[in-house]
């Protein structure tokens, strides 16, 4: 057993070179690199839009790097409360308890439609559902696709004798909150069977029947429905439309069959009654043109910043999002409903209340 000295030296050199390579700076960026990083997390409901906005805005102002990590409304609220992000998205408004933990400012950014997506073999034409049937599916009362209640709403379709796999969110979700708020309002059985009957996390009755499945984010729910024969799920309209997933039309509270569109979502936002914290529930509204499972999604920031440069850049971005015509048309293109004048005025007023070290950030 002898040691080849030159071999040993070569290996030793290789080790040092390897270590040096690790220490060397990483590849130079190819695209505009910003000096101000704006980190956000939260709702996946508006994520396609927020990612689109962030990318477009960073082209206009290359000095910012805007990141939106998603993770669900629950994560967004937690992160902004703990101060681990600069801004959060949530489609479930802050509760009194949440608002009390830390001074936060909440403002609506857009409204969107939650749709029931499905994957039924051999059924591709439009399926119609109402609050009663949807609630009964989610509470487990309706077990199979060929249930009389479903057939009654869709007399022309033939449904298979297939158990329904009910997909819901595995993470705390504002989309769940909008969806269950609707079920609470439109289905008395649901309201009686599930306690609390609405919220970001729900004790899903179908789980006890072993017909549930949890997906992470709107993306996860949509993907689970795509992959599971006999599945139903609920996601924001953009996820269904952009990925070609079938979704059901709804019979709204005016007893009219409606399709989920920007127009029907906008109809639901008309006359919304905003709370002190700029939030409003717009599910199951009375209007005959309104999509029944609609909701606003909110941006949440700390009321007072310590980094004024960051605060300025962030609020400029929010201001662009709310007022710039390019930003608004991007929202419409992705099937989100831009704010009406009333809601926009509320949001802009809320932005003005954000301060940095006590001084207003926007003049």
């Amino acid at each position: 057993m002898t040691i080849n000295k030159s071999h040993a030296i070569a290996s030793w050199l290789a080790l040092s070179m390897f270590l040096a390579a690790c220490a060397a700076p990483t590849a130079a960026p190819q695209e505009p690199k910003g000096s101000t990083a704006l980190n956000g997390s939260g709702a996946t409901f508006p994520q396609p839009l927020y990612e689109d906005w962030a990318f477009a805005y960073s082209q206009l102002d290359p000095s910012v790097l805007i990141n939106y990590a998603g993770g669900g409304s629950g994560q967004g609220k937690t992160d902004i409360t703990k101060g681990t992000v600069d801004y959060a998205g949530s489609d479930a408004a802050l509760s009194d308890a949440e608002a009390a933990t830390k001074p936060l400012v909440q403002l609506p950014s857009v409204a969107g439609a939650v749709v029931a997506i499905f994957n039924i073999p051999d059924v591709t034409t439009t399926v119609v559902l109402d609050g009663q049937v949807l609630g009964d599916i989610y509470s487990g009362k309706i077990e199979k696709w060929n249930d009389a209640a479903i057939v009654k709403l869709n007399p022309k379709l033939t449904f298979p004798d297939l158990p329904i796999n009910v997909v819901h969110r595995a993470d705390g979700s504002g989309t769940s909150s909008i969806f269950t708020t609707y079920l609470c309002a439109a289905n008395a059985n649901w309201k009686a069977a599930v306690n609390p009957c609405k919220g970001t996390t729900v004790d899903w009755p179908v789980d006890k029947l072993k017909r549930g499945q949890g997906g992470r984010g709107n993306q996860g729910v949509a993907a689970a429905v795509q992959k599971t024969s006999g599945a139903i799920g609920y996601v924001e309209l953009a996820y269904a439309k952009n990925n070609g997933i079938d979704y059901a039309q709804m019979i709204n509270s005016a007893n009219k069959q409606v399709d989920a569109t920007v127009a029907s979502t906008t109809a639901a936002t008309v006359g919304a009654a905003f709370s002190d914290r700029n939030s409003a529930d717009i599910v199951n509204v009375a209007s005959a043109d309104a999509w029944p499972i609609s909701g606003f999604t909110y941006l949440i920031v700390a009321k007072d910043f310590t980094d004024c440069k960051k605060a300025g850049k962030l609020l400029q971005f929010f201001n662009w999002v709310l007022t710039d015509s390019a930003a608004i048309s991007r929202a419409g293109k992705l099937l989100y409903s831009p704010l009406g004048d009333d809601a926009k005025a509320k949001s802009l007023a809320a932005l003005k209340t954000v301060t940095c070290n006590g001084q207003p950030v926007l003049k």
Partner: protein, 297 residues
Amino acid sequence: MVTQAVRTTSQERVKLKSTSAQGRRAAINSITLGLTWIATFAAIIPLVWVIGDVISRGLPYMSAEFFTSTFKPLTLGGGGVLHAIVGSAELVGIASLISIPIAILAAIYVSEHRNTTFGLVIRFSTDVMSGLPSIVVGLFVYTFLVSGQGYSAFAGSVALAIMMIPIVLRTTEEMLMLVPRALREGSLGLGATEWKTMILIVLPAAVSGIITGILLAIARVSGEAAPLLLTAQGSNVLSTSLSQPIAALPLTMYKYAIDPSPIRNGQAWAIALVIVVFVLILNLSARALTRNRVKGL
């Protein structure tokens, strides 16, 4: 050598069969051994299948843009994963810088004090660390480095470093034990100090083994997503800052895998291809290095 002896014996046995009971035993023997062959090759199917799928589904999405562009929204075609490549390189690089010195120094200590109580405690701690579920490492680092300060590339690197330490430590220790004692004693006898003996004689003699350990450790953490989920968080932007959230290939892959968009799914397969090729190259070079080393002895 022994196995060879065994095989001849076995064949002779089988030839000797004459009575029916012996025939039955011979039949059972062939069937059992045949099943062993089949089971072995059946177990290799998943490897071939995974690699085949990763190549056939990932390759079509590997354009130039995939490597040179950062995240773009789907409305603009989806972009590439440069941000995640840079992020992974930074995370693994810093994790190596943190873990390798600690692991090698501790391995030196253990190799010299193998049977002392303290040495045993360290070896036990190494075993515990190597068995830690990766998500628990994430929880631990979150509590110390993320809570109150925010997700960061640094926290992610520390999490990966904790997972690398036991791998590097163990291989280094084994390699140091293989270095002939005569070499060490010769150096000390010629008047070299202990640390000079270690750095100039013992470590160089073990270096290919140590590199093997480092390569295996890097391969292991390059594909880790769970601890990064709680520490580096992932990001859509190209960032190299240690104090900001950072993208990583496994995180981006996870995100794209559970996305309904076929483009994102395809990108997830392409990322899987990048990771698998990288990890397999590291593993195979690690094996090649050790093989030469063993031959050299």
